[in-house]
């Protein structure tokens, strides 16, 4: 059989494809539907959080920070409850990372504050002596891209049924409705309102002024995203 295949390239290629594709079918397909179901307490990202998530991706924060807490005592002691599949239901793409040059950030919103991030991103070594994380000074001047965040919200709502403007169940039995703008101006207004809540806890006057004037620097968006990680 193998000798025959070696003289017939087309069938050889088909045989290779079958040998290669088989594992993917068996491993990936069976759990596909189940794995994407959200757990109670998981809500979609708001416009500003999503813009912050895009800043996180733009700067490849996932190159050094994981968002996956493994079920070991040492990890749950350090980072909180181990990760559940359904908690990632609205993560497109997933941001588990593959290297922890810095600590895990899956639940960083539980133990770091807006104030802490503001100082830390300016110069990490000032806040954590010995830190090898670089400063992200450009996040204080670059503006967050609310337009693209809004486009992403619309896309995931339209194609994947992500429940914006619909109540989702929370752990305490209450319902939470994450709003999405009716149009772009509305989306920007929502993001700005959220940004103002963040800047209330910030000290940098230039950032406060920018937001007061209707512009949202990247740092505000990424802090909103960090705070949402719980």
């Amino acid at each position: 059989m193998f000798h025959w295949l070696e003289k017939h390239p087309f069938f050889f290629a088909v045989a290779v494809f079958l040998a290669v594709a088989f594992a993917g079918l068996v491993e990936i397909v069976p759990n596909f539907a189940q794995a994407s179901r959200p757990v109670i307490g998981t809500a979609p990202y708001s416009t500003l959080e999503l813009a912050g998530r895009q800043v996180y991706i733009k700067n490849s924060c996932n190159a050094c920070h994981s968002q996956l807490i493994r079920p070991f005592k040492s990890e749950t002691d350090r980072y909180g409850h181990y990760s559940l599949s359904g908690e990632y239901a609205y993560d497109r793409p997933f941001l588990w990372g593959s290297k922890r040059t810095g600590p895990d950030l899956m639940r960083v919103g539980n133990y770091r504050t807006t104030d802490w991030h503001e100082n830390h991103m300016k110069n990490p070594a000032d806040v954590v002596p010995g830190s090898i994380m670089p400063a992200y000074t450009w996040m204080y001047t670059n503006l967050a891209d609310i337009d693209t965040a809004y486009a992403e919200q619309l896309t995931v709502a339209q194609f994947f049924g992500v429940p914006y403007n619909k109540p989702v169940p929370m752990k305490d039995g209450s319902k939470l409705t994450v709003k999405m703008g009716v149009d772009l101006a509305d989306a920007k207004a929502l993001a700005l309102a959220e940004a103002k809540l963040i800047t209330a806890d910030m000290k940098d006057q230039e950032i406060k002024d920018a937001v007061a004037a209707g512009n949202i620097p990247e740092i505000v968006a990424i802090i909103a995203y960090m705070n949402s990680l719980k």
Binding site: E27, A63, R70, Y88, F94, G97, Y136, D147, T155, G181
Partner: protein, 498 residues
Amino acid sequence: MENRPLEYDYTVAKLFMLTTILTGIVGMLIGVILAFELAFPSINTILGSGLAEYTNFSRLRPLHTDAVIFGFTLSGVFATWYYVGQRVLKVSMAESSFLMFIGKLHFVLYVIGVAAVIFSLLAGVTTSKEYAEFEWPIDIAIVVVWILFGISMFGLIGIRREKSLYISVWYYIATFIGIAMLYLFNNMEIPTILGTNGIGESGFGDWWHSVSMYAGTNDALVQWWYGHNAVAFGFTVPIVAMIYYFLPKESGQAIYSYKLSLLSFWGLMFVYLWAGGHHLLFSTVPDWVQTMGSVFSIVLILPSWGSAINMLLTMKGEWQQVAASPLIKFMVLGSTFYMFSTLEGPIQAIKSVNAIAHFTDWIVGHVHDGVLGWVGFMIMAALYHMAPRVFKREIYSKSLMATQFWIQTLGVVLYFTSMWIAGITQGMMWRAHDEFGNLAYSFIDTVTVLHPYYTIRGVGGLLYLVGFLMFAYNIYKTMTSGRKVEESELQSASPMGA
């Protein structure tokens, strides 16, 4: 059939040799910069704080991996295909103006694709999925480049004189099919300009932005099915294709065992894909997938070592060549690193080992002993073998080649030993508890302790880069001022003794 040897046409092979060297320099240089940024963070702002956004570790990191994978390695794969393909199929590209055109178009679009990747990653345009960072417009360009490669390959196979496909061709075909399948499925994404709001407006934001078709755990599963096998079909399969051709040719020895090559080829094809789950141990993917990943990683030792042992036994009775020829040294040490790396990987895939190794520098070390020691050495050896035949000039300096070999070997050894220690140190410190059951170390303790290892790793990487520059210089001098030589003067045995 004609009664004279075929004149092969190496136009396209030469072009890809050039990009192999250029992207190799870029990718490795960025790697060295990254290594020193971890040891000395002030290097993050080496071009001033105004440009820090573009010299920063996290922005450069995907550029390093992609330059080495899709630049250096893929160029090497294409360069060797356009050389090996003609020779084992006994057909010249000059015989078909169509294939010649496709080959050149393949090169031009590839270069445009590489340029687009460099600029977009520097600008922070990325999907974040490792080795699949490109946004949808570049994905489409890559698919086109890949289709052209396929047309080139199957076109040449279609007009071949040698009816039976040599082992190397099996591996090139597998490279084409494997990457095509993996890349397509992992990059399923929806451009966000399609997102439409309740009043029918769409087209907001950056037109190149997209969202993954898969969410969370599913996305991770597909990504590491891809990520692991991008390693398989980029760093293993085509490199095995190279060694099956170049080692017998250079040494004049026939492949040790045809049956072993058969077993290791089909074994590798079937087993490799299963092992992707070992990137996701203790994550939220189903437990049985994790276990399968672990188990098949161990099984994977068989076909991997099958190829490597086949190569080493090909040298049976001819070991003096290893001492005499720097080119044979590269290939024999390459096979040895392949064995080492394919044993180390399965060890890391054992669940209890992975609990310590995952997320640490040990994984980085593993990747690099494979890529520097196996992929890099093999591609450089292939180019060294090709250069006299393609440029019709003798290699400029054999002693420079030997010096390069030892410098780079030292570099690789420093790299993986330091990362090995760094990884296990950090993994053990993360999990250490004191006598009261509290965590023994804060996270920053586990970072500062790594400084000496990061420095040693940087030096190792730098040595490898220096060796690569010597390689580039040697090839350049071969092209321009090597002694003219005809192929018939060069030692050249037929693979498989056929």
